[in-house]
């Protein structure tokens, strides 16, 4: 077990290197002066100043020198301060956010985290439950409905689904508004009486004894959660269903039936635990993947998380910001893969023994 985890940890730096290479590669599509946004706030307009900046930050150096400096930073030849370096967390200056990219990420991350946490239950449990039902009633009505649902779910673009939800539940019924919080609640939160312990509004509301604020935040999240869930359900349902069917055909299921166990016990004790492994893996990836920000869904509901910020920056061609978000996203995904792999080894003895 330990060797497995160590082996897995050794791959980590290689993957991180891959992400940085990819993002640095895309950074090269910018001109040297545009790349100076990694170090400075305002790009000057006269040529002499531009040349000075390119020299000062080594933006005319060979590419491997630039890559190294981009990773670990460099000493500013004029002030002597250590500047830049994505490994130090300095991702450059965000024109759109009018602040350093890293503080923009810090500011937006709680919203994304909150959305992710609330999505866990509907995505994982409902998705897997649907898959199990489809498999247990193989070729029955539930199965057919599930299949149709999953085909439609695959084809239904999340932004069209989101717009339709908004049309019905916001424009028509006025139940669930877009955004993260209502104006009155935002005013309460920014007032002195409300203490933000976690930055997660639903939890802070509880801790402050303001249930109305928690409820308001939750109301804003219901439609995004629904949108995220139905996308995941389509694939989660399929994987759960097919691995359940696979397990039902195994010899250990036949043995269990031959022992005289009821079908219910066969499924609950013998089939489901084995079939859960691929489903749990996929569900894990899907949920942790949300932490990197969900571009489309957050944008449709103007939910101020990481994905919405990345989309805004991309539209306004603030490349340094977008790449900063991408780096963050890539790092999260790699850590998520690691976490899921390790968990996988806990669940499935075959993995750690191989």
């Amino acid at each position: 077990m330990t060797t497995y985890i160590i082996r897995r940890l050794l791959v980590l730096p290689i993957l991180l290197l891959g992400v940085t290479l990819l993002i640095f590669g895309m950074l090269q599509a910018l001109t040297p002066i545009e790349r100076s946004a990694l170090y400075i706030r305002d790009i000057p307009h006269n040529d002499a100043a531009v040349q000075g900046i390119i020299k000062r930050y080594g933006l005319d150096q060979p590419i491997y020198v630039q890559y190294w400096r981009w990773l670990v930073g460099q000493r500013d030849s004029q002030t002597g301060n250590w500047i830049g370096g994505v490994l130090r967390g300095d991702l450059g200056w965000s024109r759109v956010g009018a602040q350093p990219v890293i503080s923009l990420i810090k500011q937006r991350f709680p919203a994304t985290l909150e959305l992710t946490l609330w999505s866990i239950v509907p995505i994982i449990f409902v998705g897997i439950w649907l898959g199990i039902q489809a498999a247990v009633h193989h070729n029955g009505i539930i199965d057919q409905v599930a299949r149709v649902f999953s085909i439609i779910g695959y084809s239904f673009p999340s932004f069209v689904f989101g717009l339709l939800m908004l049309m019905l539940f916001y424009a028509k019924l006025r139940w669930f508004p877009p955004g993260r919080i209502s104006d009155w609640a935002a005013a309460v939160i920014s007032s002195g009486q409300f203490r933000s312990y976690t930055q997660l509004i639903t939890i802070d509301g509880l801790l402050n004894g303001r249930l109305d604020i928690s409820w308001d935040a939750l109301k804003h999240m219901i439609l995004p959660i629904l949108t995220l869930s139905y996308i995941s359900w389509a694939s989660l349902l399929r994987v759960t269903r097919s691995s359940m069917l696979e397990a039902l055909r195994q010899e250990y299921s036949t043995t269990a039936r031959a022992k005289g166990l009821s079908e219910r016990l066969v499924i609950n004790r013998h089939v489901r635990p084995n079939a859960m492994i691929p489903a749990a893996t996929l569900a894990g990836f899907q949920v942790i993947g949300l932490l990197g920000g969900v571009i489309i869904t957050e944008t449709v509901f103007t939910y101020p998380g990481i994905g919405f910020a990345a989309a805004q920056a991309a539209v306004q061609v603030d490349v340094v910001t977008v790449l900063g978000f991408a780096l963050f996203n890539g790092a999260i995904l790699i850590l998520a893969n690691l976490a899921v792999d390790v968990l996988y080894a806990f669940i499935d003895p075959r993995v750690r023994l191989s």
């Binding site: 993957l15 932004f159 717009l163 424009a171 399929r238 489309i296 991309a314 539209v315 991408a326």
Partner: protein
């Protein structure tokens, strides 16, 4: 593709003797038994028939677009004609007031009037939605087919080269592939499209290039696997013994026998690419405002979220077109999975 239609072992003997009872048609002889089975499977499965019917329907619309709604200027038909510049959308069937394009031929006989109207209303900026939906079908096909084709060519080249040369070539190419897989598809494409837009201008190209750049990896993996298995066959050995060059063996002997499944699988991805294209275009990246593209049309709805109950037509018509288009390809792909792997029939 382990189990084919599973012929009994005894049948193999008469086949070798040339006395098979099954008639082998011309198509089967050209395509080979396995490829023929895949194609035939696609033509007899109900889901794929439904998909094919829908695709044909869209194809007819795309081909007949200039007849259904004649463009305002033939040089730039993808530009949606505007009826003024007012930001408020206009409802269905309201009359064209300014700049009305030519009447389509079918309008007068049916409606007995020569006043052209906005059949599906207008979006903000008075872009005619009907025109956008019809010509958007053309954009969808154009974009989907081009992206798939380019991604496929890159993928096949990479996969085939990696598998055939093996060793360090394989190692390097597969690591490059891994690097391209580190970021989620849409995020990666979003970034690349955003980087490219100021370089090559607003058009369909930035998004298309971005989707190709991050779309080829699946095909490379598939082709690599198939080439690896074909490479060990006796006829490849024979070709080598005769003294053929590597390139000739790869192009003439291995690839034709290895790429068909990948090719079919890739064609099912057209729907996915059109969806991703529309998603990025919805965010406001790539094409210029007013380009006939479903994602672009849908993005107009973002300005009217609180009033969507009133302006539902901005979402419903382009949305329905997009959903049906993608659904058609999903249906086809669903059937294909069953055909490729009969063992899993109905289990996915």
């Amino acid at each position: 593709m382990t189990a084919t239609t599973a012929p009994e072992p005894t049948i193999a003997v008469p086949q070798i003797l040339g006395r098979s009872h099954r008639k082998i048609g011309r198509a089967e002889r050209i395509l080979g038994p396995e490829n023929y089975r895949i194609l035939r499977g696609l033509l007899v499965t109900p889901t794929s028939i439904a998909g094919l019917v829908l695709i044909t329907f869209f194809a007819i619309i795309a081909i007949a677009a200039p007849v259904i709604v004649p463009p305002k200027s033939a040089a730039d038909p993808y530009k949606i004609p505007r009826d003024g510049f007012s930001p408020d959308p206009k409802p269905l069937m309201s009359a064209w007031e300014r700049n009305a394009p030519d009447l389509p031929f079918w309008w007068k006989p049916i409606m007995k009037t020569d006043k052209w109207v906005h059949l599906m209303g207008t979006a903000s900026g008075q872009y005619d939605i009907f025109y956008g939906v019809i010509w958007g079908t053309r954009t969808a096909f154009k974009v989907g087919i081009l992206i798939t084709l380019c991604a496929l060519i890159i993928g096949i080249t990479m996969g085939a080269v990696a598998a055939y040369y093996g060793r360090w070539v394989d190692m390097v190419l597969m690591r490059i592939l891994d690097i391209f897989l580190t970021l989620p598809f849409l995020m990666a494409a979003l970034i690349l499209a955003a980087v490219l837009t100021p370089r090559i201008g607003r058009s369909t190209y930035p998004i298309m290039i971005a989707l190709v750049a991050f779309g080829w990896m699946t095909y490379a993996r598939l082709v690599r696997g198939d080439v690896l298995s074909v490479r060990e066959r006796d006829y490849v050995m024979a070709a080598k013994v005769v003294g053929n060059t590597d390139r000739r063996i790869l192009l003439k002997h291995i690839l034709p026998n290895a790429i068909f499944p990948t090719f079919v699988l890739a064609s099912m991805d057209i729907g996915t690419y059109v969806l991703s294209f529309a998603a990025l275009s919805f965010l406001g990246i790539g094409v210029e405002p007013g380009y006939a593209d479903w994602g672009q049309l849908l993005s107009f709805a973002r300005n009217w979220i609180p009033d969507l109950a009133k302006f539902w037509y901005i979402v419903v018509y382009p949305g329905a077109a997009l959903i049906l288009f993608v659904l058609a390809w999903t249906l086809l792909g669903d059937a294909l999975r069953d055909v490729l792997d009969p063992r899993l029939r109905g289990s996915r």
